[in-house]
C-alpha cells in the first residue's frame, strides 16, 4: 500500500517501537504458560528456589503421576466430559432453531420474541430466586441443574440469527418453498447443511463454556461423586492453598517438612493445571479461525 514511497526515519522508529510492544505483549502472555509447562516436569526444589526459570530442571514426572493416581480427578474428568457433551447438544438444540425462526422476516411475533429474550440481558431475577426455582424443580444434585438453567445464551442466539440472515441466500429458501418444502424440512435439510461454520462456532463457544464452568456445580451439586473437573480443581488449586495460609510459630524441622510438602503440592498444581487445560488449548489453535469468526459475526450490529 505504501510501496514506492520511502519510509521516513520517524516511521521506522514508530514501527520498531510497535514491534517491540507487540513482542512484549506476546512475552507477557507466553512466559507464565511456558513456566507452568516447565515447572510441571521439574524438580520442585529447583522451582521453589527460582533456579528453574524457563527450561525444565531435574526432570520428574511425579506431579503427573500423582495427578493420574488421584481417583477424584479421573471421575471429575469423566463427569465433565459427560456434562459438556450433553450440555452442548442441548445448547445447540435450543439455540439454532430459535435463531432460525428469528431470522425469518415473515415470522409473525419476531419482534415480541426478540424483545422478550433481550430483556433478560439487562435484568434478571438474581441468584437466590434462580436457586429456589431450580430447587423447586427438583434438579438439585442432578446433572440437569448444570445443563437446563444455562441451556441457551441470548448472545449466541443473536450471533446465529445474524449468520442465518446474512449467509443463507433468501432465494434458495424461496425456491425450496416453491418446490413444496415445509419449514421444518427447509430448516433441517437446506439451512442446517449450509450452516456448518456457525454450528461449529456455537458448539465451540458452548463447549468451552461448559467445560470451564464451575459456579452452577458449586451451588447445585452436593454429592462429590458428581463433581465436574473444575470443582475438583477448585479443591486442589484454591482451597488447599487458602488452608495453608495460616500457621503460627513453628520450629525449623517442621518448617522444612512443610516446605517440602508445599513444594510437592505446587508440583501437583502445575501438573493439574496442564491436565485440565490441555483439551481446550490443544483444539484451540486449529479452531482459532472459527472462534474469531464467531466474535466477528457477533460484532455486526443487527
Amino acid at each position: 500500500m505504501t510501496s514506492g514511497i520511502k519510509e521516513t526515519r520517524r516511521d521506522r522508529i514508530f514501527l520498531i517501537c510497535n514491534y517491540v510492544y507487540v513482542f512484549l505483549a506476546f512475552l507477557i502472555v507466553f512466559y507464565p504458560v511456558a513456566y507452568i509447562v516447565s515447572a510441571s516436569i521439574s524438580d520442585p526444589k529447583t522451582v521453589a528456589s527460582g533456579e528453574m526459570w524457563l527450561w525444565p530442571k531435574g526432570i520428574t514426572f511425579d506431579g503427573y503421576q500423582r495427578v493420574f493416581e488421584n481417583a477424584n480427578i479421573w471421575r471429575g474428568y469423566g463427569n465433565t466430559i459427560l456434562y459438556t457433551l450433553v450440555g452442548t447438544v442441548v445448547n445447540l438444540l435450543v439455540t439454532l432453531p430459535a435463531a432460525y425462526a428469528l431470522s425469518r422476516r415473515d415470522f409473525v411475533g419476531r419482534g415480541f420474541f426478540t424483545g422478550m429474550f433481550m430483556v433478560t440481558m439487562f435484568f434478571g431475577g438474581g441468584l437466590v430466586p434462580t436457586y429456589l426455582l431450580v430447587k423447586g424443580l427438583g434438579m438439585v444434585d442432578t446433572m440437569w441443574a448444570l445443563i437446563i438453567p444455562s441451556a441457551v445464551s441470548i448472545w449466541n442466539i443473536i450471533v446465529s440469527r445474524t449468520f442465518f440472515q446474512s449467509s443463507i441466500p433468501i432465494e434458495l429458501q424461496e425456491a425450496a418453498q416453491i418446490d413444496g418444502s415445509t419449514n421444518m424440512h427447509l430448516f433441517v435439510r437446506i439451512v442446517l447443511p449450509l450452516s456448518m461454520p456457525i454450528i461449529a462456532v456455537m458448539a465451540l463457544f458452548y463447549g468451552v463454556g461448559n467445560w470451564n464452568s464451575y459456579f452452577s456445580a458449586l451451588i447445585y451439586l452436593n454429592d462429590s461423586a458428581k463433581y465436574p473437573l473444575q470443582l475438583i480443581l477448585r479443591q486442589i488449586l484454591v482451597l488447599q492453598e487458602m488452608g495453608a495460609q495460616g500457621g503460627g510459630a513453628i520450629d525449623a524441622s517442621t518448617a522444612a517438612a512443610m516446605n517440602t510438602k508445599a513444594e510437592v503440592a505446587a508440583l501437583v498444581k502445575y501438573a493439574v493445571i496442564i491436565v485440565a487445560t490441555v483439551p481446550v488449548i490443544l483444539i484451540y489453535p486449529f479452531l482459532q479461525r472459527y472462534f474469531v469468526q464467531g466474535v466477528m459475526i457477533g460484532s455486526v450490529k443487527g
Partner: protein
C-alpha cells in the same frame, strides 16, 4: 405459491398488512412450524429468566420455605432498610465500584492499543503467533486462572514472588494483603482477556478503506499520524458500544473469580455485592435478605445502562438503541 414466495422476502408482506387480521392469521398458520422451532427457547426464557423475576417478590416478604413464594408474609422494605443501614453497606459499594472502575481504566484501553499495534504489524508468522498466543488465555477457566494466580503469588514457591525478590524488593503478601487484592484481580484479568478483546477492534480496522491511507501517505502523513487520524476514529463507534455495556455492568463485577480469590484476610477489599449475595443467600440461607440485595444490584445496573445509553444517544449516534 406466489404468496409464500412474497412472504419470505418480507417486502410484499408489509403491503398485505392493511388487509387485516385474516391475512395476519394466515401468515401465522402458514409458518406454524417456526413456533415449534422457537418453543424450547421461549419456554427456557419464560421459566428460567422470567420465573426468577416472579420470585423477586420474596425481597419484600419474609420467605418461609414451607409456605413458598406466594404464602410467605409481606414485610415491605425491611430487608432493604436493613441492608442500607448495615455497617458493611458502604464497604460493599466502594469495593464493587472501585474494582469495576479500576478494571475499566486499565482493561478498556489496553485491547484498543494492542489492536492498533497488531494492525501495524505485517502479515506473517510473527503476527500470527503473537495473536494466537495472546488470544489463548481467554480459554483458561476461572478456576485454573485463580489457581495460577495463587500458585504464582504463593509466598513460599511463587514465581512472581521470586521475581520481585530477584529485583531486590521485599515481596508483599499479594494473596492476603487487602491493598493488593484489586491490583491482582485487575491485572490478571488484563492478562487473560486483553488479547481476545482485540478481535472486535481488529474487525473494525479491517474495514478501513485503504485509499484513505494512500491519500494520507501522499499528503506526507507519518505512520503515527495515520494511526491517530484514520484508525482511531474508525474504532470510536465500537469503543462507545463496549463502554456503554461496561458501564451497565459496573455493579456486576466478575464475581466468579473474586469468590475464588477471596480469603478471610483480604475480605475488607474483596467483598463485593455479588459475593455478599452469594454468602448471605446460599451459605447463610437468608433468602429474602439476599434477594433484596440482588434486586438492588440489578436495578442499579439497569438504571446505569439506561442512563449512560441516554447520555451517549444525545451526544453521538453510537448508542445501543
Amino acid at each position: 405459491m406466489r404468496e409464500t414466495n412474497a412472504g419470505l422476502s418480507g417486502g410484499a408482506a408489509t403491503a398485505h398488512r392493511h388487509m387485516g387480521n385474516r391475512t395476519l392469521w394466515k401468515r401465522i398458520v402458514r409458518n406454524w412450524e417456526l413456533y415449534i422451532l422457537i418453543a424450547p427457547a421461549f419456554f427456557y426464557f419464560l421459566i428460567f429468566c422470567y420465573g426468577p423475576m416472579y420470585g423477586i417478590q420474596i425481597a419484600f416478604k419474609n420467605y418461609i420455605p414451607t409456605k413458598g413464594v406466594m404464602g410467605s408474609p409481606w414485610i415491605g422494605f425491611d430487608h432493604f432498610e436493613r441492608f442500607f443501614h448495615s455497617y458493611y453497606f458502604w464497604d460493599l459499594i466502594w469495593n464493587t465500584l472501585s474494582i469495576s472502575l479500576y478494571e475499566l481504566a486499565i482493561g478498556f484501553p489496553i485491547p484498543i492499543i494492542l489492536a492498533l499495534a497488531f494492525n501495524e504489524v505485517r502479515q506473517g508468522f510473527f503476527k500470527k503467533m503473537a495473536q494466537t498466543v495472546t488470544y489463548a488465555p481467554h480459554f483458561i477457566s476461572v478456576v485454573v486462572m485463580a489457581g495460577m494466580i495463587i500458585t504464582f503469588l504463593s509466598p513460599s514457591t511463587g514465581m512472581v514472588v521470586r521475581l520481585v525478590e530477584a529485583l531486590g524488593f521485599d515481596s508483599p503478601a499479594f494473596l492476603t494483603d487487602p491493598r493488593w487484592f484489586k491490583t491482582m484481580y485487575v491485572f490478571s484479568g488484563v492478562w487473560q482477556s486483553a488479547g481476545w478483546g482485540t478481535i472486535i477492534y481488529l474487525a473494525a480496522l479491517a474495514g478501513v478503506d485503504p485509499s484513505l491511507h494512500e491519500a494520507a501517505v501522499i499528503d506526507g502523513a507519518s505512520r503515527f499520524q495515520r494511526v491517530r487520524h484514520i484508525n482511531i476514529p474508525v474504532l470510536v463507534p465500537t469503543m462507545t458500544i463496549l463502554l456503554i455495556l461496561n458501564m451497565g455492568s459496573l455493579f456486576g463485577v466478575g464475581f466468579e473469580k473474586i469468590l475464588l480469590l477471596q480469603n478471610p484476610l483480604n475480605m475488607e477489599a474483596s467483598d463485593v455485592i455479588s459475593t455478599f449475595v452469594y454468602r448471605s443467600g446460599l451459605e447463610d440461607a437468608q433468602y429474602s435478605f439476599s434477594t433484596a440485595i440482588g434486586l438492588f444490584n440489578s436495578v442499579v445496573n439497569a438504571a446505569l445502562l439506561l442512563l449512560v445509553n441516554g447520555i451517549v444517544r444525545r451526544t453521538s449516534e453510537n448508542s445501543l438503541w
